[in-house]
Symmetry: C2
DNA sequence: TTATCAATCCGTCAAATTAACGGAATAAAA
DNA sequence: TTTTATTCCGTTAATTTGACGGATTGATAA
């Protein structure tokens, strides 16, 4: 994947191409088997789990950087990806230990003063992706990955549990106001599908009829007059997202009137 | 205030003390005469208006940096200050033009390669302060300040109108869920005072009785059994914030049940 | 062909919340 | 004691939310 030469070049010269002191760390939620999971990578040297991450190119808009980094790790383009917070309080992340391991055989000279040792702020994004479409590629610092159910997240490196928690809170808060489901469901989906998705994300039973009413009232989805033929039972109607309406819902919906 | 020597040292050596590429830019809302205003500074050289800003010290947590920067410009400590977004898309802010003016007499040599010329991401916070308690101090780059009503914000430097807009939207969204008013009102305040504050911030009439009921239901304020003696009229009761309840309200209140 | 099964679909009523509304009480000054 | 400006409060209608179960459909099995 990445040759040792590339790695050494990255350590020595990465700061010429990337902004130092700032990384982008997406919390990637995936959905499969009615479970909500997040993608974590296993660090070389540190032998612990952490979020995928990457650096911003010197001339690259940060939203573009976030999309690029997501694509580099997952292969996915054009998915919902939203910034939610920038961490830089207790979070003095560096790659020191990790790099010592990786570059052991080279001696430690090359590490002296590397940009990767410096304090790094973390601009965090979250994303929801279709688990089955993801093709994970590890990066220089990592060698394995795993999708962890959100109730089985281990203690993470770099104090990233806080990041994950805030991502989840934000996801749930915005669920009715951002086109969050649109990467997880097929273009046309059934009511039970989206219903189950929302129940999973909120970790809560939602009455089916009330759920439908709410989604229709907010204008988030619209009913088509097609049905899908599922195996053995009654054919469910298909629905589609109405993306244009989401942000409206946000503004109208949360600023409590009067 | 700042000597020319200090400025030159800051230009040449600031990157040893501060993280380059990242600034903190608080949108400081002030309230007076029933108007909502923001504090803008006038840039030397560029002759335009922009947000106050500052850099993060190399070992300083960012929330602490934000508070320090706010204090440096306004003299205020311990006020409500909240991060809301990190801008870095179209926002390639540098101090190049400004610095050329300021350091004119020194020749331009010192500017070569200054850390201040590099691209800077902006971690943005907003704050609400009591206009009358603020003691504005300009910084190296600025020489004047003004409180602009939010409906009379000029075109800002560094594409900061976007920042201000997002700050205002966020402020309004969170008004019922964060202890936002607590820096703007005295410890004990009357119902008409807080009512008028909320009307001003939301730019909207709020029915007085319904407003009271809502604040009480959310547990944001509590009624004391003291009254204040105002000049000529009926004595209003006093109220106090119940800060502990705000964040509760956030979690319980926005995640729409069922 | 019919019965069975598993899943989807839908409507009503009660409870809670929100929105609209005006008149009585108070404190000082005239 | 009257006037004036201001605070205080309660009720009703409309809307939204929450709870609830029975009828329909599409295929498979008898």
């Amino acid at each position: 994947m990445h040759s040792q030469e590339e790695l050494l070049d990255f350590i020595k010269n990465g700061h010429k191409q990337y902004l130092p002191h700032v990384s982008i760390d997406p919390v990637i939620f995936g959905y499969s088997d009615q479970k909500l999971k997040i993608l974590l990578l296993k660090w070389k040297g540190l032998e612990g789990w952490g979020l995928p991450g990457g650096y911003i190119k010197r001339e690259e808009p940060i939203s573009q950087a976030a999309n690029r980094i997501l694509e580099e790790r997952t292969g996915l383009k054009n998915v919902f990806l939203q910034q939610f917070y920038t961490f830089g309080d207790s979070h003095y992340r560096t790659h020191e230990q990790s790099l010592k391991e990786i570059t052991q055989e080279q001696g430690e000279d090359i590490l002296k003063g590397s940009w990767l040792f410096e304090r790094t702020l973390s601009i965090s994004y979250f994303s929801l992706v279709d688990h089955s479409k993801v093709n994970v590629t590890t990066d220089f610092f990592t060698y394995d990955y795993h999708w962890f159910g959100i109730d089985e997240i281990p203690e993470l490196l770099f104090e990233q549990n806080e990041v994950v928690d805030k991502a989840l809170t934000t996801l749930r808060l915005q669920l009715y106001h951002q086109p969050i489901g649109s990467n997880l469901l097929p273009e046309k989906f059934t009511l039970p599908e989206i219903h189950s998705l929302y129940e999973t994300i909120l970790d809560k039973k939602l009455d089916q009829r009330n759920f439908l009413r709410k989604m229709m009232t907010l204008g988030i989805i619209k009913k088509l007059d097609e049905q899908r033929s599922i195996g053995a039972h009654r054919s469910p109607f298909l629905y589609q997202f109405e993306k244009e309406n989401y942000e409206e819902a946000l503004k109208q919906g949360i600023i409590h009137a009067n």
